[in-house]
Symmetry: C2
Subunit: 680 residues, 2 copies
Amino acid sequence: MVDSLFNPKFLLNSLSLSLTPRHSDTRKKEIKWMIRIIKRSSVKRSSLTAIFSSRTKPEMNASQEAHNREAFRQAVGNTLERRLFYIPSLKIYRGVAGLYDYGPPGCAVKSNVLAFWRQHFVLEENMLEVDCPCVTPEIVLKASGHVDKFTDLMVKDEKTGTCYRADHLLKDYCKDKLEKDPNLSAEKAAELSHVLAVLDDLSAEELGAKIKEYGISAPDTKNPLSDPYPFNLMFQTSIGPSGLSPGYMRPETAQGIFVNFKDLYYYNGNKLPFAAAQIGQAFRNEISPRQGLLRVREFTLAEIEHFVDPEDKSHPKFSEVAQFEFFMFPREDQVSGQHARRIPIGEAVSQGIVNNETLGYFIGRVYLFLTQLGIDKDRLRFRQHLGNEMAHYAADCWDAEIECSYGWIECVGIADRSAYDLRAHTDKSGVALVAHEKFLEPKEVEKLVITPVKKELGLAFKGNQRMVVEALEAMGEKEAMEMKANLEEKGQAEFHVCTLDKVVTIMKNMLSISKEKKKEHQRVFTPSVIEPSFGIGRIIYCLYEHSFYTRPSRDGDEQLNVFRFPALIAPIKCTVFPLVQNQQYEEVARGIARSLTAVGISYKIDITGTSIGKRYARTDELGVPFAITVDSESSVTVRERDSKQQIRVSVDEVASVIKEVIDGVSTWADVLWRYPTHSS
Amino acid sequence: MVDSLFNPKFLLNSLSLSLTPRHSDTRKKEIKWMIRIIKRSSVKRSSLTAIFSSRTKPEMNASQEAHNREAFRQAVGNTLERRLFYIPSLKIYRGVAGLYDYGPPGCAVKSNVLAFWRQHFVLEENMLEVDCPCVTPEIVLKASGHVDKFTDLMVKDEKTGTCYRADHLLKDYCKDKLEKDPNLSAEKAAELSHVLAVLDDLSAEELGAKIKEYGISAPDTKNPLSDPYPFNLMFQTSIGPSGLSPGYMRPETAQGIFVNFKDLYYYNGNKLPFAAAQIGQAFRNEISPRQGLLRVREFTLAEIEHFVDPEDKSHPKFSEVAQFEFFMFPREDQVSGQHARRIPIGEAVSQGIVNNETLGYFIGRVYLFLTQLGIDKDRLRFRQHLGNEMAHYAADCWDAEIECSYGWIECVGIADRSAYDLRAHTDKSGVALVAHEKFLEPKEVEKLVITPVKKELGLAFKGNQRMVVEALEAMGEKEAMEMKANLEEKGQAEFHVCTLDKVVTIMKNMLSISKEKKKEHQRVFTPSVIEPSFGIGRIIYCLYEHSFYTRPSRDGDEQLNVFRFPALIAPIKCTVFPLVQNQQYEEVARGIARSLTAVGISYKIDITGTSIGKRYARTDELGVPFAITVDSESSVTVRERDSKQQIRVSVDEVASVIKEVIDGVSTWADVLWRYPTHSS
């Protein structure tokens, strides 16, 4: 079966560009901080990633592609909105950008996706699920960095005050020129492509300069624009009546898990590894939401924090996924302009492409999850973060990206975040979020002892003393031993204090460094955390696009829409139609409805006098896998949505047959063989 | 089995007081407005209701009762917090009042309760479930009345600025005096009891006067208090970057359904009745949260809006619940000081105690839902709202109240709200939220035609003209015909314009009123809505109290805690224990774990070397219904939590036996008969 309207597999273009980093070190650090924080939001930018694509279809030009993409998106979108999969929030009040309601079928799909997520991750992996409030006091988000750094750069229409995302305006300008300007010189095209490639890395000043250079004005009014400035994306509020306790609507659910680490570790019998999980709403006050259901101001996240000993990131169940093979897009392949390629995940780990087994295990589990939902495995890839995308502390990071009419969309982020988050909350709260490994017998260990002489440091650095002391104490073994050598040889050493972003001179009398032997009974350490984070709304939207196809009606005069949802996900499992309007058939239909309810199968009963063909078309459009037509009092027909094959089943058996197939106990092929086929 | 620690059934005292309304009509209207709005929040005050109780135990005095109640509550609370059913949010940052996290078992209980709610209401009744954002633009909550009226009265410590709820301070003072002052005169006691009874009806001025009269000061500092003033309980925020679009975190989920009425009605084939449902977070910025999990700043609501023709509130499935008999507490019984009594719901409807069948049907379904969850039917009652509690437009309203150590707690509100909400949004949005009934053949109807003469009204009322015109056009038939008579007789009539809260004089030349005969093809009307609204967190907390009991350990030296959750609700269905630590048993245990996962049963495996008794005690405290102990490689024991009975089952069969009992296909008694018993 092929999508007759449009096959997006071959449509999405892409420029393959390598990145030429050109920023100073300081600037790079700033970028990393921003990206790190933005990454923590878990539903992240995809502008950079949109320029990488695994396939192109050379014979189609860019504007034709854009046109088809748009037509396909509209066909899906119209069906989704007409059948209330989603509804722009507050339609009767003319709506609000970036807020959507899920109508009945959309809500059912979402609840099926979440139920399957719970089954696939929480239940099968014995995770500890928690449920924390959305309202979050400032201190937590200070510790995580969101209060200071969770920002987008914004420009204002200088006359009307309307706000725009600065990078979006620049991106639109470049894409528009590239797609529509036939007179564009090769040189100019290369420049614009380069801008697109480094868009996420541009500072406020650089963005502002480009906007000026290209003469970009406000899209609606053509008025001049302000310089770009940062806008914090969290919805702010105030907790309690005093006005003195600022709070925010959480931008992610992960922090609720980190702050509970101590209790959860205890609940798990003080043992590592273990994973905690949370499903819940997260909020992001977008400057100017676009891309429909993909960039919204409130969304459902499902996040896992898997805590693990940093010295042992093996996974006992890794062998269960090792043989799975799917599209991966390692960092090196992206930079050297290659395409994503199929790699068995076992190989990716053993070759060191993926940092460790636990990360690899989750990549494999995410692949299984998405494809079982109905995501096309040929339009799914795992893309590794580039060096400049990844936080400095992260060991490795992969995004599950799904291709849809908007390009490659990041739907799941799977990151090894090392000890960063637990350390941040340990520092801020003063409560040690650590794990213990008891030794069977005490071990003699050589310990690095760094003793700053605070008096001398105070005289030398005054107000900065604390920062210098902390930086000295945080030195790793290698760095400390080098400094020790320098101090002994030259009497002084240069030292970079990251919190001051400054190099200072440390004199011999300011510090002693030694190694001491000690007996230890246990090892105390901050666990690493591996975080798979799922943007549920994005996954569902991509699922809609991957499930949608059209086919001609029987008389060929119109195209009918179908969603080929797997039974697991279908909003309604089954419809019941009396063939004609009469009391006997309606009673049979109601009896079947009762037995469906009894076995927990959701159904829709349609007793209108509409033709049976029209009724089939209606439920195909909702992705209902099976339709029961009552055309006698003893037996009925059951029709499968995609093949349109029909079988005859007795009234008494029909609910259990449907349940069998829905639950996956039998396949449609099994029952097709067991029951007589029916031709309508 | 009896709760050995404390049996709350007989503990909760109560004063039975009748209410003596004493407010002016205008004031009463204001109160009704406030109550109406507060009622809309669905997790409502219970202070008024706490004074009604169905049982007393005369031989126990008030302070002894309070002591036992407190001890029981602490025993439950300690267990819940120690086993992470809940965790005060942000413990490592010293917490925030009114915010709680659900830890792993609490989160599992909540998700089981919600899954059962979906099965019992959405699936069985074929409801249309929707899912709308929490962030809500101001216009919606202006229309619903929340922006102007969703307030509590607050007083401030005049020196420190700390805020308190004015009614709470007065209530505490009165209760404290009544419980602890032995020298209280009968007259004074009656006065304080009266204050408690009318607490919810007091205006800001009256509350302030009482606080002054009794010399109540700030509880923590004894500083003087400010006069009471209203504080809006919604969390406010700003949508988008401009700062010009105020928004709020929704105080209830219902509005999301009302604004989508038109689409949902269409989705239902333009047919009534139908119900829409929504589960989601709601927010309430409490002034000073108390009562632990019962009064929180963020909570999960599950709401149903059942839309029905106001002229036909019968329910086709009413007969299925009519025979259920449970404690009901009609308005008249409350006012005349009687107790709640068992009434079959069929009788309550036929006698007119409950306004209509649909309302009665939902009361019956709520009863079934709560008792199947594990709520004790003897500590559950349905209390009808008193006249002054109910909104003026409401036809009838009943609260499902559950008795716990805090008193009778309103957990579900079931209200017939007539056409109020749809009309409010019709007025504000200009979009008609109405239903149509097509006549089989056109009907001749006599229609009231009210034609205001705008020119004359404009001259007379200037800027108020619009309000007067609207009020005139909104007159009902009776009122209009009376006015017609007055205008014809006296040439003028007095007319109350509610939106101006003023009586104006209408002259004969300002208005014509007539009746005309017309042929109509359909009836256009605003549906009534019947709203069952569930405070999920409150239900869960009461369930914890009703499920908790203690029993002596085997050697009798300590009391062990047990939660007797039904299998449906239990956070974990089953534990697996190898009797002793050895590799064979652990492998068998892991094999059983795999087969439990395969049949979708959640389990916890405990391979610690702790004594089997201790391991049983640990899981009893989590309410796990079954424990599998591996003491051979071929067969195992299965222990039931409450009876402590054990049977022997083969390793291959055990997962399916557990599933059978968990799913309710068999009872424990059934399998006890089928398999050999085992004595430990």
